[in-house]
Each structure stands twice: as structure tokens, then as C-alpha cells.
């Protein structure tokens, strides 16, 4: 296909090409991850050394946010809420779903582009507007959201910054919804001839299920957020009961609403959102493990079945976040059963990935190291979730640091490691060059140490009974003996930051100077490796058709040790 001449702006900025949009998502979300990480590093200073002036930064902040350089509780709450929002909605979800999905899904189904390229562009720019609104909220007199990333009313209605947060969320949610439609239509309708559903790579299955979850989970919270917006700006009382006394003054709200309603609407999104973060990572790990163990994935059908089971079960577990919220305690048993039931498909997925190694011939490339580390790290994340899903033990653990440790093991130690692996794996496809292996290994080991050192102490703090979201933990006597673990966690979060330097250098250096490689350097079988690297506009130089399953590694009577999906039968 001939490259027709396009202006720089049209080719790289307002592009409708799925690959350019994917890269836009990639760079935006990596930047968001770095900024969100920076927020939490400032918070970790305050947690390790409460009431001590923040080094360097303290002097730059206004006296209102940081009197004498010491972080104010308002600033702590702002950073906390924005850390969560930035990491989840601007970082991990767009990286795993929008960036990887946009680039790899059309290639793996053999499509020239997404089904709706212009909607795809609209999704990205809607996402950017949402991100800019969130960034802008820092410069408002009110500051950004201060009520946690969950924005529970009435607190979110009486603190400022909520309105801009809701506006940003509406743009981000719309972006995700449009992206989800695009993914589903592309994945189902634009498959190359011969690519039956049973021959789809697990990555495509994972992205399709993710898209379906996005499509079903986001609208309720968006509607709920509009009600919250009405409460904030139009003085309705959807979430406000009668007779509130705010700091000794009667609130003007007419009342009649119910604060717990928001929690239901929020977590109806919030829990499926965890699977929106997780499933793309599982898809990436599956591709990397199959490729580097040089054998087909174990239990392909069981994995697809588990993904579909998660799609259903993800929508009936939300209230396990509400066991002690004041929701009727009689509801909790139901949600405990569904919560433990959803652990089963996750166990099956993990089991299949582990069994896939059996009988393999494992190459320890950088992407494989990240993918292998996903297995035990996500295992810790998943296993530590069980005492939170069991109602009785959740009474003690709810809202403690244990919860923070649990979901950071899931999202950072598990999912982010997998996404890093994905970057190393598909980098040659994106840029025709390979990332440096030894820098990649430095990045891997540094990150592994940093993550465990940062998040493991949180389990200890949580089991000691320390609550989350405390600006000054030492204000509570029972936390004092455990303070050393905050220091440990903060020191390792610094190590985690240092470990990202080789990655950032490696990424940009390899972009221009990396070792040039062939179109298929990993000897992979799926269709994404059957086109040039980087793929031209329209992707495939000639139409592709598929003749076999996705992971034909080391088939018997084959000299090469692998057969691409599109190779004609011999």
C-alpha cells in the first residue's frame, strides 16, 4: 500500500490510524503513571516522616498547601485522590486496554484498522480532555478532589474539587465506552478469513471481554456521577439525608437521599474495573508465556471459559466493598459467596499459565521475566484478597493498610509488571527495533525489589490495625510502634523510582538507536507478527488468511519449531 503524503499534524496528532492512536495512549498513560507515582512519593514522605518539611518541594508549595514546607492534610487528601484517579483511569486502564488493545488487537485479527477509525480518534481526544480537566483542577482555587478516588458523599459534596473531577470522569468514561464498542466490533467482525473464535489468541479474547465489561459497568457510574454533580451544583439531595450539620451549621440540603446509594453505583463500576485492569494483563502474559516457553498454551478452552465466567461474575460482586458500610448485613453473605466464586476462574487462568510452562523450553528474555514474575506476584494479590472477601475477617481488615497492600499487589506487582513485559515484547513490532536486554534486566530486578519492599510492609501495618488515608499516622497512639514499616515502605518506593530510570532511558534510546530486528524477532505465530515492523498504514501488505490455532509452537514433525497462523498448510 502506498503511503500518501500527509502533514505531520494529520499523521502523528490527529490521526485515525489505530497504531498512532495506540502510541498516543501509550505515551499519555506512561506520563500519567509517572505523575501519579510522583504524587504518592510526596505522600510517602509524609507517611514515613509525619510533620517534617518535604525536601526540595516543600519550599515551592504555597503556605496554604504546605505551611513551613510541611504537607497540609488538605494537600495529602488531594494527592491521595488524584493518585488513585490518575493511576487507575489515566494510567493502567488506558495502557492495558486502550494502548495495547488498539495496537495489537487489529493486528492479531488481521484487520487493516479499527472498525471505526474516527470514533477511535474521538475516544483518544475525549480522554485527553478528561485528563486535562483533572490536571487543571490543581490550579483552581478549590484544588482537586479531596475525598479519595471513590468520592463518597456527603464528604465529596462538602469539600471542593468534586465538580471538576466529575466532569473529567464523564469525558474519560465516554472515551472508554466508545473504545469498547470499537474493540468489540473490530474483534468480532473484522477477523481474517479462517480466524474462527476458537483460533483467536487469548489476548484478543481478553480484550473482547474487557471491552464488554467496560460497556456494561461504566454507564451506571456515569449516571450516578451526574446525580452527584446535580447535588454539588443544583442543590439536589440524591445522596444527602435530612438534617446534616456541617461543622455546627445546618446544611441547606433538603435531604431525603442516601449516601450508600453512591457506593453501590460507584462499586458497580469499581469492582469490574479491576478486571478491566487485569484481563489485558492476563492476555499479555498468555502471549509472552506461549511464545517464550515455545509450546501451546495449556487449556486454551478453559482459559476462554474463565474469561467469560469473569465477564458474568464481575457484575455480582460489587457489594463486597460494602460489608461494613451500613448496607443491610443480610446482603453480605450473598456477596461473600459470589466473591469467592469469582476466585475460581482467576485460579483457573493462573493454573493454565503455570501449567503452560510444563514441558516447555523456556527462553528467559526480558518480557518473559516480567511475565513469569506476574504469576507469583498476582498470586499474592489474589490470595490476600480472600480474607477481604470473607465477611468476618473483613470486619477487621476493611479500610486498613492491608487493603492498600492487597490491591497494590494486584495492580502494581501483578498488572503493571505484565504491562512492562508487554512493552518489551511488542516494542520491536512498534518501532522495528529491540529494547536493550541488559537494561531491561536491571529494570526488572530493580522493580521487583522496589515493589515488594514498598507493598509488603503494608500487610504488616494493616494487620496491626492501622487505617488507610491517614495524613499523620502518629496522631494515633496504637500506630506508633509500627512506624518503622512506613519508613521501610517509603525507602523502597524510592528504589522503585530509581529502577524506572533504566526503563525510561532504554525506551527512548532504543526508539532511535536500538538494535534493528526482523519483522518477527521472537519467532511468534500470531498474525501481529505476520506484517512488517512497524506496520505501514493498512498493516498487511497482502490479505492474510488463517489456517490454524494461535499457538502452534514445536508441533511434531516440524523442523522450524513453530508455524505461523497464516502459513498455508504444507
Amino acid at each position: 500500500m502506498s503511503e500518501h503524503k500527509m502533514s505531520f499534524l494529520k499523521k502523528y496528532v490527529f490521526s485515525t490510524d489505530h497504531k498512532v492512536i495506540a502510541m498516543q495512549y501509550m505515551f499519555t498513560s506512561l506520563a500519567a503513571l509517572l505523575i501519579g507515582f510522583f504524587f504518592v512519593l510526596v505522600m510517602r514522605w509524609e507517611l514515613a516522616f509525619p510533620m517534617h518539611p518535604i525536601p526540595l518541594l516543600g519550599r515551592l508549595l504555597s503556605a496554604r498547601l504546605a505551611p513551613n514546607g510541611v504537607m497540609s492534610p488538605q494537600l495529602y487528601n488531594m494527592l491521595g485522590a488524584m493518585h488513585g484517579t490518575a493511576m487507575i483511569f489515566l494510567g493502567i486502564a488506558p495502557l492495558g486496554f486502550a494502548a495495547f488493545g488498539n495496537y495489537v488487537l487489529p493486528l492479531q485479527v488481521g484487520a487493516p484498522d479499527m472498525a471505526f477509525p474516527k470514533i477511535n480518534m474521538f475516544s483518544y481526544w475525549s480522554f485527553v480532555i478528561g485528563a486535562l480537566i483533572l490536571a487543571a483542577s490543581f490550579f483552581l482555587p478549590s484544588g482537586p478532589l479531596q475525598s479519595g478516588w471513590t468520592a463518597y458523599p456527603p464528604l465529596s459534596e462538602i469539600t471542593r474539587g468534586t465538580v471538576f473531577w466529575i466532569l473529567a470522569m464523564v469525558f474519560i468514561i465516554n472515551s472508554s465506552l466508545l473504545g469498547a464498542i470499537n474493540f468489540i466490533v473490530t474483534g468480532l467482525n473484522m477477523r481474517a478469513p479462517g480466524l474462527t473464535l476458537g483460533r483467536l489468541p487469548i489476548f484478543v479474547w481478553a480484550q473482547l471481554v474487557t471491552a464488554a465489561i467496560v460497556l456494561l459497568a461504566f454507564p451506571p457510574v456515569e449516571a450516578g456521577a451526574v446525580l452527584l454533580l446535580m447535588d454539588c451544583v443544583a442543590h439536589t439531595s440524591f445522596y444527602l439525608p435530612q438534617g446534616l450539620m456541617i461543622l455546627g451549621h445546618a446544611s441547606g440540603a433538603s435531604g431525603g437521599g442516601q449516601p450508600i446509594l453512591w457506593q453501590h453505583l460507584f462499586w458497580f463500576l469499581g469492582h469490574p474495573e479491576v478486571y478491566v485492569l487485569l484481563l489485558p494483563a492476563i492476555g499479555i502474559v498468555a502471549e509472552i508465556i506461549a511464545n517464550n516457553s515455545r509450546k501451546p498454551l495449556y487449556g486454551y478452552k478453559a482459559m476462554v471459559g474463565s474469561l467469560l465466567a469473569i465477564l458474568v461474575l464481575a457484575f455480582v460482586v460489587w457489594a463486597h466493598h460494602l460489608y461494613i458500610s451500613g448496607m443491610s448485613p443480610f446482603l453480605s453473605d450473598f456477596f461473600a459467596i459470589t466473591t469467592l466464586a469469582i476466585s475460581v476462574p482467576s485460579v483457573i487462568l493462573l493454573t493454565c499459565l503455570v501449567f503452560s510452562l510444563q514441558g516447555g523450553s523456556i527462553r528467559f528474555t526480558t518480557p518473559m521475566l516480567f511475565a513469569l514474575s506476574f504469576l507469583p506476584l498476582f498470586g499474592i494479590g489474589g490470595l490476600t484478597g480472600i480474607p477481604l472477601g470473607v465477611t468476618v475477617t473483613d470486619i477487621y481488615l476493611h479500610d486498613t493498610y492491608y487493603v492498600i497492600g492487597h490491591f497494590h499487589y494486584v495492580v502494581v506487582a501483578g498488572i503493571l509488571m505484565a504491562l512492562f513485559g508487554g512493552i518489551y515484547f511488542w516494542f520491536p513490532k512498534w518501532f522495528g527495533r529491540k529494547m536493550n536486554e541488559s537494561l531491561g534486566k536491571w529494570h526488572f530486578w530493580g522493580t521487583l525489589i522496589g515493589i515488594n519492599g514498598t507493598f509488603f510492609p503494608m500487610f504488616i501495618l494493616g494487620l496491626a490495625g492501622q487505617s488507610r488515608r491517614l495524613w499523620n499516622p502518629l496522631a494515633q497512639a496504637h500506630n506508633v510502634p509500627w512506624q518503622k514499616w512506613h519508613v521501610v515502605s517509603s525507602v523502597f518506593s524510592g528504589i522503585l523510582l530509581l529502577a524506572q530510570i533504566p526503563f525510561i532511558y532504554n525506551f527512548f534510546h532504543s526508539l532511535f538507536q536500538g538494535e534493528k530486528v526482523s519483522d518477527n524477532p521472537w519467532e511468534a505465530t500470531t498474525l501481529d507478527w505476520a506484517c512488517p515492523s512497524p506496520p505501514p498504514h493498512g498493516n498487511f501488505s497482502s490479505p492474510v488468511s488463517v489456517h490454524r490455532g494461535p499457538y502452534e509452537y514445536s508441533p511434531p514433525n516440524n523442523r522450524d519449531g513453530w508455524v505461523p497462523q497464516n502459513a498455508e498448510a504444507a
Partner: protein
């Protein structure tokens, strides 16, 4: 089980704390066992099937849907046994129904940004009426002293006294935002939602002073919203309540602010 002592659970001080600790110990012992056995297996696979010159992967070892399901099925069965045999009854005991006890005492806890207001009904056993118009600095809960039931009420801030071994039913109410009543030693936690009266019961089993810290983000003063639970022998408790009881209710509340 000894291993869990590096995870320092605070001393247990309520009747149901032992139930919750049993659950924590059981689950953590299982988690540690499962994690280490899987990790050893994973490490074995990674070592055993590493790429060696001339080695080739075994294509056949990839089928089998039933073997892939087995660990999941075992997990499901064990989890459901845990839920039916242990979790549902214990949860019911702690959260669903308040045990009948004629000897119980009742206390109102009215949380606000960023303090705990505690109201005892006094010798008449009746809580005085509260009116939001009456709320001011010296009367933080807006107690209506025209109500005869209010005359003997004891109101104080950030100090919750409980008699040892006696069931206390605590009515959790919030005046502004969502707070959370959490005492790690009692192993109890409950959100306090404005507009609702959520009852919670505790029977303390150990004399002592414990932190009563808000566990749900309630604003800039959240980490400073700390009161104390003081568990006393029934005699000490009665003497303390008597010393607080008579005319000086409002004074006691301001003194504690």
C-alpha cells in the same frame, strides 16, 4: 501459627475477637501454605524446563480442560465449606442480630468532623431528645434539656467508657459525613452513615484504654479524629458514671473538648 506473630494483631479484648482471630489465622495459614507450595512448583517448572541447547518443547502437554479446572474446583469446594460452616454463622452473630441481654447498657455515639460525641442515657435509661437547632459549641449534640429524659444524660467527647463483661449496644449516628467506628482490640468496625442509626454490640473482655480512631476518610482532620475507649470493671464504671451524672453535663462536655 507462630509465624503470625510477626503480624502483630493487637491484643484481643472482646467476646467475638477470638472468632475473628481464628478466621485470620486459618486464612493466613492457608494463604502462606498455598503460596509457598505453588511457588516451589513454579520454580521447579522454570528450572526444569529452561531452554537448553538442543532441547525442544513438548507440544502434546497442552490439552486437558479437566486438569486445568481441578485446582479451581478444589478451591471452590473449600471456600464454600468455609462460608457455610463458619462464615455465615459468625457474621450473623456479630453483625446481623443483637443478642438478647437484659443486663445490657445502651450508648449513643454521635460522630462529627472530627470528634466522637458520646451520650449515656443516665439512671432513667432513656436518651434525652436531640434537636439540631440547639447544636452549639457547648452543646455539640443539641440535647434538649427541656426533655425530662435529658436531665440525667451524660454527654462527653472522645471518651467512651465501657464496663467489663457487660454487653454494650452502641447506636452509631453521624451528624455530617460518613465516619467509621473502629477499635482494633475489639476487632470491630462499622461505618457511621448520616441519616441512619446503626446499632453495634460489644462485650469487652479486657480492662484497658484503646484508641477509637475514625477509619473512613472524613475530611482534613480524619487522622486526628481519635478518641479513647476505656474499659473499666463494672464497679469503677458505675462510680465513674455517677461522678459524671448530676447537673454538670454541659460542663463535662466542654471540658473534654
Amino acid at each position: 501459627m507462630r509465624l503470625l506473630h510477626i503480624f502483630g494483631l493487637p491484643p484481643a479484648a472482646s467476646t467475638y475477637a477470638a472468632d475473628i482471630d481464628f478466621g485470620l489465622r486459618l486464612l493466613f495459614a492457608s494463604i502462606i501454605f498455598i503460596f509457598f507450595s505453588w511457588s516451589v512448583y513454579l520454580a521447579y517448572l522454570v528450572f526444569r524446563y529452561r531452554n537448553k541447547p538442543g532441547s525442544r518443547a513438548e507440544y502434546e502437554k497442552s490439552a486437558g480442560i479437566s486438569k486445568a479446572m481441578m485446582p479451581g474446583a478444589i478451591v471452590l469446594v473449600l471456600e464454600m465449606i468455609l462460608i457455610i460452616v463458619w462464615e455465615i454463622p459468625v457474621w450473623g452473630k456479630i453483625k446481623e442480630e443483637i443478642p438478647q441481654d437484659s443486663n445490657k447498657i445502651e450508648i449513643n455515639v454521635l460522630a462529627q468532623q472530627f470528634a466522637w460525641n458520646i451520650q449515656y442515657p443516665g439512671p432513667d435509661g432513656k436518651f434525652g431528645r436531640r434537636k439540631k437547632e440547639l447544636v452549639n459549641f457547648s452543646n455539640p449534640i443539641g440535647l434538649d434539656y427541656n426533655d425530662p429524659a435529658a436531665k440525667d444524660d451524660v454527654v462527653l467527647a472522645n471518651e467512651l467508657h465501657l464496663p467489663l463483661g457487660k454487653m454494650a449496644v452502641i447506636h452509631l449516628m453521624s451528624m455530617d459525613v460518613i465516619h467509621d467506628f473502629a477499635v482494633p482490640e475489639f476487632r470491630i468496625k462499622q461505618d457511621i452513615v448520616p441519616g441512619m442509626d446503626i446499632p453495634l454490640w460489644i462485650t469487652p473482655t479486657k480492662v484497658g484504654t484503646y484508641d477509637l480512631a475514625c477509619a473512613q476518610l472524613c475530611g482534613f482532620g480524619h487522622s486526628l479524629m481519635v478518641g479513647h475507649v476505656i474499659v473499666q470493671s463494672p464497679e469503677d464504671f458505675a462510680a465513674w458514671l455517677k461522678s459524671k451524672a448530676p447537673v454538670s453535663q454541659t460542663a463535662s462536655s466542654t471540658n473534654n473538648f
